[in-house]
């Protein structure tokens, strides 16, 4: 299983705070997962998830490139942070 989370503006634009996907049982990397979401949920999701300043985290660590995923991973998509 993969847990996928969306925060802030991204959450609002997708009208979705998160979803769970069955682990495909084969190799899967972050960009393939993103492409899978874009295909499954359509053009509006593609527009959001491919935004230039999108931040992606795997298991609560920000990743700046593609990376291999594993069963049980938590993947998050969010805009630049504005805390403090």
């Amino acid at each position: 299983m993969l847990k996928i989370l969306f925060f802030a503006r991204i959450r609002e634009e997708l009208s979705c705070s998160g979803l769970e996907l069955q682990w495909p049982g084969s190799r899967l990397d972050l960009y393939a997962l993103q492409e899978q979401l874009c295909v499954e949920y359509g053009e509006s999701w593609r527009n959001v998830l491919t935004q230039e300043n999108m931040i992606r985290a795997v298991n609560q660590q920000v990743v700046t490139d593609n990376c291999e995923l594993n069963d049980g991973d938590e993947i998050a998509f969010f805009p630049p942070v504005t805390g403090g």
Partner: protein
């Protein structure tokens, strides 16, 4: 990487008491010569937008973990005795306290530098997002370029 034993990171909706938080940094051994603190407040206006409410969202788990990691990084760079960070989430009003960071050390240089370092990282790396509500409607706050360049200087 060093682990600072006397450190805590809290994210909650409730307000916080700066005096109590500051006391929490003291070990009772009187080794602390210096405590530097920072408190962030909700401003009434931002870029001339009149703000009536601020909504703060975060990524539970990652927030606490990333701030803890930042504090440990600070303890690697400066001789710290204690550090804590508190960040509120939910709906806040102008004048409300948002964030508190406090650092104790033997001398003031380390306390000041580490407090500023933690705040710079908290502003640019910790997963919090602010939405401003007001007469203008709703707007997600965007990144201050200034914040990015401040964090890059460390």
């Amino acid at each position: 990487m060093a682990m600072l034993e006397n450190s805590s990171v809290t994210v909650h909706e409730a307000d916080f008491d700066v005096a109590g938080l500051q006391r929490g940094l003291l070990s009772g051994l009187s080794e602390e010569g210096a405590i530097a603190t920072f408190t962030g407040y909700v401003r009434r206006a931002n870029d001339d937008r009149r703000v009536s409410t601020l909504e703060l969202e975060h990524y539970p788990g990652m927030t606490e973990g990333s701030i803890k990691a930042i504090i440990d990084q600070a303890a690697d760079r400066w001789p710290l005795l204690a550090a804590s960070a508190v960040h509120r989430v939910g709906r806040l009003s102008p004048g409300d306290q948002i964030v508190w960071v406090g650092v104790a050390s033997a001398h003031r240089e380390a306390a000041f530098s580490a407090c500023e370092f933690i705040m710079d990282y908290l502003k640019t790396r910790a997963p919090f997002w602010k939405k401003e509500l007001g007469p203008f409607g709703e707007i997600w706050v965007s990144v201050r370029q200034d914040d990015e360049s401040r964090a890059a200087r460390w």
